[in-house]
Symmetry: C2
Subunit: 242 residues, 2 copies
């Protein structure tokens, strides 16, 4: 089996900092986790919040802490630091090679989509962002690591793309359409969804947008791990914002 | 400008854990860093060492600590934990958008190659691995972030590939050959070098092998950041080893 994970992200129009933060970390007992946080509002303040949350989560995951416990810890830390006045959405997507499962931890009203073959399922149980109160819990979904599985998660910039013009994306139908192509790569799927979100916002994204796609394929592999990233360098010297 | 960073890595033949650890982290003041450590020997013990070193470095970089100070701290921490009995090689490759430079921090006898256009330069000043004594310093090279720049770094599994058969790779010539191709991507370059190393070791790598390539191109970009990773899932349930 081979697992591909890909992400594509962009900033809200005319902001140099993205309020979304995404990091990938190796799990100490085998596998990787992708941690995606969306800080309240946008710009520099939101970036500081989402960075703090993601760093908390990845440092705990790297020590072997379970995903659910890491999400709870990040919530309590944010609640304590900001007195419950600042919230963040948090998704953790883990490939756990020890349990041979995929673990989805969700503190985000936006849904996560799971496609097995060409059947797309929407994970949209009620779920609270972190930092709002004490005792916040993540919605956890655990599924066996099997070929022909596709998982798609995103921040609400994608979910609400086009909303101000009353043209929201039917994400489930969009995913089904993309999956009908001949074996799209995870990166192709992520790029397609982000581009569709950008089109709906007329290329002036109304919010930070991030898409993460995981694909499990049955093809036999050569035991080579790869990672690649593309980083546009903004013309402004003071820009940052991954 | 657009920056591409890509890595390819594989384990020593017949070991389930790679002693090499590689992580990518966002820099708090803009940019990214790739941290690559090679723990002494191979297998589970080497993995524990390289993981400890990389985690130390990325947690410091994420707090805004300079690369050189992070490398020194990792050396002191390893020296303290292992009483100077275990060493590791450490490379940090940073794209620093604040200073608009690329910073190479090297505690590794293996060289780093820098190509500007098709001219390849070898950075091979004497450099000590970390953890050997107190007062270990990294070799730091800082270069302006400019188009048509390629940087290649690797662990010694690549450097010594083929050595037992007296057929070591002429890495400088290999890089020049690859760069003559029409704009090879960073991933294509990393894959080509890893595959050449594998061929020299007759597909039974004598050591863990990792290659990291950074390319800066002048093409105008769409302000979309991307990250993608490919993870082969080993058939053994107890395998791990990124």
């Amino acid at each position: 089996m081979e697992i591909q994970i890909a992400a594509a992200k962009t900033n809200k129009y005319a902001t140099s900092d993205s309020g979304d933060t995404l990091e990938v970390v190796e799990r100490p007992n085998g596998g990787v986790s992708v941690v995606l946080a969306d800080g309240q509002s946008s710009g520099r303040g939101a970036k500081a919040v989402s960075t703090m949350v993601v760093r908390k989560v990845i440092s705990l995951l790297a020590e072997g802490v379970r995903d659910g416990a890491a999400a709870r810890a990040a919530s309590d830390a944010l609640y304590t630091e900001k007195n419950g006045k600042v919230i963040a959405c948090l998704n953790i997507l883990s490939v756990d090679l020890q349990s041979q499962t995929i673990v989805l931890s969700r503190n985000n009203p936006s849904p996560i989509f799971i496609a097995a073959g060409d059947k797309v399922k929407c994970i949209d149980q009620p779920s609270s962002p972190i930092g709002t109160t004490r005792n916040i819990k993540p919605e956890i979904t655990e599924i066996p690591l099997e070929p022909d599985l596709t998982i798609i998660m995103f921040t609400d910039g994608i979910f609400y793309a086009g909303d101000r013009r009353g043209e929201k994306m039917d994400i489930c139908t969009a995913i089904q359409g993309y999956l009908e192509d001949e074996e799209p790569t995870a990166q192709k799927l992520a790029d397609s969804l982000l581009n569709q979100g950008l089109r709906l916002d007329e290329n002036r994204p109304n919010d930070d947008m991030s898409v993460v796609v995981l694909r499990v394929s049955s093809r036999s592999t050569d035991q080579i791990r790869k990672i690649s990233l593309t980083l546009p360098v903004p013309p402004l010297r003071d820009s940052q914002g991954w």
